[in-house]
């Protein structure tokens, strides 16, 4: 009988290791990291590149504060998903009824559609820097994005997106390679010279608006539910969220660092991410330029996944259709149908010659700006409702932090809306 004992002991040993913390954490990590990184989409990369070029290190302090804000908001989304087992669309529909849901969903669709278009624009622009025409890069990438989700199961898709998330680290390389004067960087973070002129303030609120967008919250909550994270695993989910928030800002930091070190002193003015990548070449060499282009491509591809997914999840939850990355077209026709439609429209618009991209970006910023306050306030209502969250409602301290954060976010968003209309 001793021959039978040894394999049994080995199996028990493996089981013990599997119960170790580190594996449990690795198993739960995903939604938070992906949702966070999706905040660094094509628009985000553009914003940070511009911020670095225009202000050098002058706005890095905003990033430090943003980490906290992002963590607070993301944590609430994740908590709601884990505790209730329902997505944000589900909860809005169940608590606020059809009319409110319809209103939110319409804004959501418009907001996400415009951002999706921006992502494919980012893909086209970054591939053009490598000499690939958009007529090739856009349909190809659209097909890839479509295929992975339709044919893959949740685990596969998540692994793929996490892999893509790691490529963001090229920006860290860019930043470090630019050889910034670290003591100067530290000084400007600790003692920022805050100017009260319009351009400066506009940059601040644009940074905020691009880092905390409604689709991230929707996606995070739906992903946590689709993944099946249990209440007992909530501690690990929290870690996932905080890791995601930290990583997002970490990457953004290095983007600002890179352009701030190379472009700012040279007084180079850029208005887009691809211009920033190109501008790096004469000053920092082709490798730096390539790194930036790869980073932009990567960011756009990741977001090209997350945006249509977030929309498909939200709509399916709100209107009671089957949803889930694991499902086939027959099982969840509306979910995959909307996913497909979004990709097709997003990619299709970019293929149109002379598409009014600037106007579309403006629309995207505006609609997201309108949607965000509603989403945040609804989130606060839901997360404080004991009939939904049971014992996991916000603690008093959490509420104070959340209310302060959200009030500031709403204020800044409203300011952004007002100024962008005033500038017309």
């Amino acid at each position: 009988m001793s021959g039978d004992e040894q394999p049994v002991k080995f199996v028990e040993w493996i089981k013990k290791i599997k119960d170790r913390r580190i594996f449990l954490i690795l198993a739960v990590i995903g939604p938070g990291v992906i949702a966070g990184n999706a905040g660094n989409d094509a628009g985000g990369i553009a914003t940070y590149s511009i911020v670095g070029a225009r202000e050098g290190y002058g706005l890095l302090w905003v990033l430090v504060l943003l980490t906290g804000a992002l963590a607070v908001v993301q944590e609430m989304s994740s908590r709601m998903g884990v505790v209730t087992g329902k997505g944000f669309g589900d909860l809005v529909r169940e608590q606020f009824g059809v009319k409110v849901t319809l209103g939110i969903m319409l804004l959501f669709i418009v907001a996400n559609l415009t951002v999706t278009i921006a992502e494919f624009a980012g893909i086209a622009a970054s591939m053009e820097l490598f000499g690939v025409h958009k007529n090739i890069s856009v349909p190809l990438s659209a097909f890839l994005v479509w295929l992975v989700v339709v044919k893959g199961n949740f685990k596969q898709v998540e692994r793929f997106l996490l892999l893509i998330s790691m490529i963001y680290l090229t920006y860290v390389v860019s930043g470090v390679m630019s050889n910034p004067p670290w003591h100067e960087v530290a000084r400007q973070i600790a003692l920022p010279r805050i100017r009260m002129d319009r351009d400066y303030i506009l940059l601040v609120i644009t940074m905020v608006g691009t880092t905390i967008t409604p689709y991230m919250q929707f996606y995070l909550q739906s992903a946590v539910v689709d993944k099946g994270v249990r209440v007992e695993e909530y501690g690990y989910a929290k870690f996932d969220v905080y890791a995601g928030a930290f990583m997002t800002i970490f990457i953004a930091f290095f983007i600002v660092l890179a352009t701030g070190t190379i472009l700012h002193p040279a007084g180079v003015v850029v208005d887009s991410a691809e211009e920033a990548a190109q501008a790096l070449q004469p000053l920092a060499g082709q490798f730096a330029s390539h790194l930036f282009a790869v980073g932009l491509l990567n960011a756009s591809v990741l977001a090209a996944f997350v945006l249509p997914l977030a929309t498909a999840y939200g709509l399916s939850e709100a209107f009671g259709w089957e949803s889930g990355v694991n499902k086939s077209f027959r099982e969840a026709p509306q979910f995959l149908g909307f996913y497909t439609a979004f990709i097709m429209i997003g990619a299709g618009v970019i293929m149109i010659p002379n598409a009014p991209l600037i106007k579309i970006m403006f629309l995207s910023q505006t609609v997201n700006g309108i949607l965000l306050p509603f989403v945040l306030i609804i989130m606060l209502r839901l997360v404080n409702d004991p009939t939904i969250m049971g014992n996991y409602v916000n603690s008093k301290r959490m509420n104070i932090i959340a209310w302060i954060t959200i009030s500031i976010l709403i204020l800044l968003t409203v300011l952004l809306l007002v100024t962008s209309f005033a500038m017309d």
Partner: protein, 421 residues
Amino acid sequence: MPFFAGEIFISEVYKKPVLDQTGEEIGKLKDIIVGLGEPFPAVTSVVISSGQDTYLVSWDMINLFNRRVISVNARMDALKPSEIASSDILIFRDLLDKQIVDINGAKLVRVNDLELGEVKGKLCLVAADIGLRGLLRRLGVEKRGEKFLALLKYKLQHKLISWTYVQTVEPKLTRLTLRVSRQKVSSLHPADLAEIISEVSQKERTAMFGSLDVDTAAEALHELEPRVQADIIDEMSKERASDILERMPPDEAADVLGDLPEAKAQELINLMEKEEAEDVQELMEHEDNTAGGLMTTEFLAFPPDMTVEEAIKELRLEAPDVETIYYLYIVDQDEHVNGVVSLKNLILAMPQTLLGDIMLTPVKTLPLDAEQKDVAEFISKYNLLAAPVVDEKAVLRGIVTVDDVLDFLLPTASRKKRRKL
């Protein structure tokens, strides 16, 4: 006795003014309380809100109740404000926009609207509207939406589910499940039931599973993912858990117990009936993906000197307790497998023939430690419904049926449906 015409949808009376005996407005209709009732939940009171006050008016005080007029048989000053009890079930608050199980379709749907109708003199909840028409009605654009869609050549259907085919999901509402629909839930195929159970949230899952009878619960439990199984077993009382495990075939029970933490599994085994517990423990001694781990100990074994007639009699007695009756294994006194008789051959043979004469011999067997892959190849190669498993002493220990290896035989594409971490 209230007078109302035909059926009415909840969305059509929401926030409509409620008048008193003299025609004065008491307030707006805010909600409707329903209580148990067979065959449908019946309306017990109407909730009216006026400013800060809430009035609960019992149904028999309602005079008129239709799309145009809702009135109460009392004067306004006779009504006193009251509170809603926490145990009350309110239609708008608790049922509308929530998820329910459509038993006919075997899936989860969302309630867009609810239909009230007269049943045996009472106003009852008769159907749930889960379709687009319900959504349009909630937004007040049903007619216009219908015309618009007709332009696009799309006929807007009514998608109503009779409440007899509805199972509520929220824990608080399980009381509203009718006896009829509870029976129907049990008639859902365990695989469908398991899929629905795995899609609802944790709280709702516990409630749904708790409302199932032991047999249905046992069938559904095995169809669930191991993680979900472990969760559900954790959430129910140990007695009920061991009851359910007893009802399951021992190989399935062994699977479930094998995925639980050792201490918990031991506790539950101790609570099970001795015979069942022994079977299960024997199976648990083997590795999960070997023949020993896949097999069941419930098979038919007869001596070679039994006649066909006696065997059929015996089979009728034992059939309810065995995994499969398609193969009868012929064993000697030392429990070695000598041969096998298929059910077909058994029925075709003359009653007085001895089993030993019609059996197929020798019998191909699997060792206890055969790997899952080899078991699958074995069954596939010899086109078997079940394969006998023997130990080193050639004693017949159990059989592996084809459904246990079917998952393994399927191509990877369909395995993606398993939502494992």
